[in-house]
Every structure is written in C-alpha cells, then in structure tokens.
C-alpha cells in the first residue's frame, strides 16, 4: 500500500474542503484493515486533533465523536449502561482490545460494512448522524441511500432514553465476523428491531416493530408473531460463513429471546 500525500487539516471546515476538493481523497478514521481495502492512496486526510474523539453527554442525547474508538465507547460510563449497555457490548465484541483501540465509530458507520456489529446496535438505538455540511440524518436512512454521499461525519447522536436493549452476536469464534447479529430496544413500549450480517448490511425490521408498537401489553404470542413478521420482512442470504436457512433459524431463536428479554422481567420469561 502506498500513500503519496498526507493532509492534516487544522479545522473541520478545512477537512471538509479537502475531501470536497478531491473526490479520491481518503479520510482516515481508525485505519483498521486499511491494507485490505485500499492499494494506493493519492491523498489521505488525517482527522486527528480536531476534537472528533470526544463523547459528550447532554440532557437528551449522547454525542459520540466520529473518531471515538470502540474502546472509548465500550468503557464510557453512560454508554455502558444505556439500553442495557447494548452499544458498548457491540463494541466489545469486535476483535480484540488492540483493534478496539484504533477502530472508530465513524469508520464503522461510514464504511457501511455488512459484517458490522456496531451498525446493528446503533440502528436499534435510533442513532442520528451529524455531518459537517449535510443536515443530520437517521442512520437507517443513511444506510438505505444508494447515492454517492460525500461529507465529513462529525458525530453520532444517541437519544438518552430509559429503555431496555439487547445486542447479540453469533460468530464461530470471538475473533470472527458475525454469522448474524441483532439488536432490539424497547423504550416505553416502542420497539426497534435491527438485524445485521444477514449477510447484508444491518437493517431495521420496521413493519414487525410497528405492529408490535400498536399492542399494549405485549404477550408472548405477540412476540412470536413479531419474529415471524421480521423474518418475512428481512432478506437473508448465504456466504462462506453460513447458509440462508441457518441464518433464518438463528434469527428466529435469538430474536425471540431478545424480544422477551426487553419485554418481560426474569420471572415472566
């Protein structure tokens, strides 16, 4: 791998100008797996020193700077408890501590990787992306956009709400990418259900969640119906990690468990 020029902008605006002026310029988030993804880079833009690594807790949201590492998130006192620690857990399940110390939340989001555990958890947390130029955008909307979207991600905003959350990653080994991952939240009876590594990029099962949101109180029967709805709504496929049928079988079992976990207390389960 070869890099010809490195730019270290002094401000976010300068960083944006650098990537806007050169459509081939590559922003460096964490650098994990960079050697696998790129051969030669004419211009690399380093974003260190711009304050993007900060995690700020406000009254209504937690703003996670795009350059916050997975370990920063995993060990953050507020994020460790938010939605049952779901987001922190998704970060802890990525590779080992050395990768968690370089890989960033921004890199995970902007990469839009199909295997990503982080995207699944962020979807279920109703994350909003804040850019340098574009208006804020829900992560779910961003992932569905197929247009060439070129901007500097500044922060990922997570609503601070009291709710339950569960993240699950199913993989052959701790170090491997997921065969399937899923995240579910329940905030005052409003559910979000996200499934990733199907092997496609993480998606919300909106129809299943919307139907569940209309029911109060939710019964085991309703949850079983929601799981069936989610399986019908989401696409599953095969790759070298697992076959489509196996992924569906895993999703059926783990979604059922996760939805029960965020709905009932221990005795009711």
């Amino acid at each position: 791998m070869r890099i010809e020029t490195i730019l270290k902008p002094a401000s976010l605006e300068d960083a944006y100008k650098a990537i806007a002026a050169d459509k081939n310029a590559v922003m460096f988030a964490g650098g994990a797996w960079i050697k696998l993804t790129l051969k030669d880079i004419a211009t690399a833009v380093i974003l260190d020193g711009l304050g993007l690594e900060r995690i700020a807790v406000g009254d209504k949201t937690v703003e996670i700077g795009a350059l916050a590492t997975l370990n920063d998130v995993a060990t953050h006192p507020v994020l460790s408890g938010l939605y049952g620690g779901m987001i922190a857990e998704s970060c802890r399940r990525v590779m080992g501590i050395n990768v968690q110390n370089v890989a960033t939340l921004g890199g995970s989001v902007m990469g839009g990787y199909a295997f990503s555990d982080i995207l699944t958890a962020l979807l279920a947390a109703d994350a909003t992306l804040r850019f340098q130029k574009h208006e804020p955008m829900k992560l779910a909307e961003y992932l569905q956009r197929k247009v060439n979207f070129r901007d500097l991600l500044v922060a990922i905003s997570i609503p601070l709400k009291n709710g339950r959350g569960v993240f699950r990653k199913i993989a052959r080994t701790r170090l491997d990418f997921a065969i399937l991952n899923l995240a579910v939240t329940n905030v005052n009876g409003l559910y979000l259900i996200a499934v990733g590594a199907r092997p496609g990029v993480a998606r919300l099962a909106t129809l299943a969640a919307d139907r569940l949101n209309e029911i109060h109180p939710v019964s085991v029967f309703d949850i079983e119906k929601a799981v069936a709805d989610a399986l019908a709504e989401l696409d599953f496929g095969s790759n070298n990690r697992a076959a489509e049928d196996y992924r569906r079988a895993l999703a059926r079992v783990h979604l059922l468990r996760a939805l029960k976990e965020v709905t009932f207390d221990d005795r009711q389960r």
């Binding site: 797996w33 050697k35 080992g96 501590i97 050395n98």
Partner: protein, 150 residues
C-alpha cells in the same frame, strides 16, 4: 515527513514517507521485538502500546503517533522478565514469536484491570493470536503474573 515520538521514554525523530506505518518505522529504528504477523490488523503480533493502550502497529500510520508515547517490550524489561518467568514455569510458550506482543497486552491489562477474571483476560487477549500454545497454559501464567505483587 518528520515524526517526533517518545519511544520507551526516549524522544526520537523519524524521517518517514507519508504512508509509513508504525511497525516499519520502529523495526527500521532497531526495535526488533515488534514483529510482522498477518500485516492486516487481525493477529495482534505487531502490538505496541500507544499512550499505554495496545494498538496494532502494522496498520497505524506513523504520522499519527506524532507527540505520543510508544512502548515496546524493550521499554518494560522488568515486567517482561516477570511474565517470561511465569510463561516458562507454566510451559506457556513454544516458538515465542507472539511473546513480545502478548507481554505488552498483558502489561496493559495489569495497568487497567489488575484483578481481571479469567473471562476478562480471555476477552482482552482475543486479538492476540498464538499458534502454538492452545492458550490455557498462557491463561494460568498470566493469572500468576497478575497475582504477583509489584
């Protein structure tokens, strides 16, 4: 490009090409305990401590280390010797290729979680591959090391 880095407590200036990675710069400077493994961020063999935190040097641009503290196993000789003794007593290593990176990761664990449980040790080291040991004897040795008083 000139990069100024504190390596093992000594300020060093390196003249590096723009795309140089920390692994290559440190090895060329003589820090040969750092080894190249997969070279793709996956195996942990190239681990160094950056401001006390384990990172894969194979994928970390040298320029990003400007003004920061890098620790290699040469910088923690006493702790490395202690861990090596426990590794020897427990038969925890064979070829030794991964030992420097493992020593740094375990040293960082001791600074962060000196009373780490078995599960926490396993999770911490999940990204440090060893193709010889099977890990169980390493776990025992690491526990002995963590229990040792300073």
């Amino acid at each position: 490009m000139i990069v100024n880095v504190d390596v093992n407590g000594r300020l060093r200036s390196f003249d590096v090409p723009p795309g140089a990675f920390l692994l290559d710069v440190l090895r060329e400077a003589g820090y040969l305990s750092i080894r190249r493994g997969c070279d793709t961020t996956s195996c942990g063999i190239c681990t160094v401590l950056l401001d006390g935190k384990p990172v894969p040097s194979c994928s970390y641009l040298a320029i990003r280390a400007e003004g920061r503290k890098v620790t290699t196993v040469e910088g923690i000789p006493e702790e490395a010797a202690k861990l090596a003794r426990h590794f020897g007593e427990e038969g925890a290593d064979q070829c030794g290729y991964c030992n420097p990176s493992l020593a740094l990761a375990v040293y960082a664990l001791k600074q962060t979680r000196p009373k780490a449980t078995d599960e926490e040790i396993r999770l911490w080291l999940v990204g440090n591959l060893c193709r010889c040991s099977g890990y169980q004897s390493q776990l025992v040795a690491i526990k002995r090391y963590l229990e040792e008083r300073p």
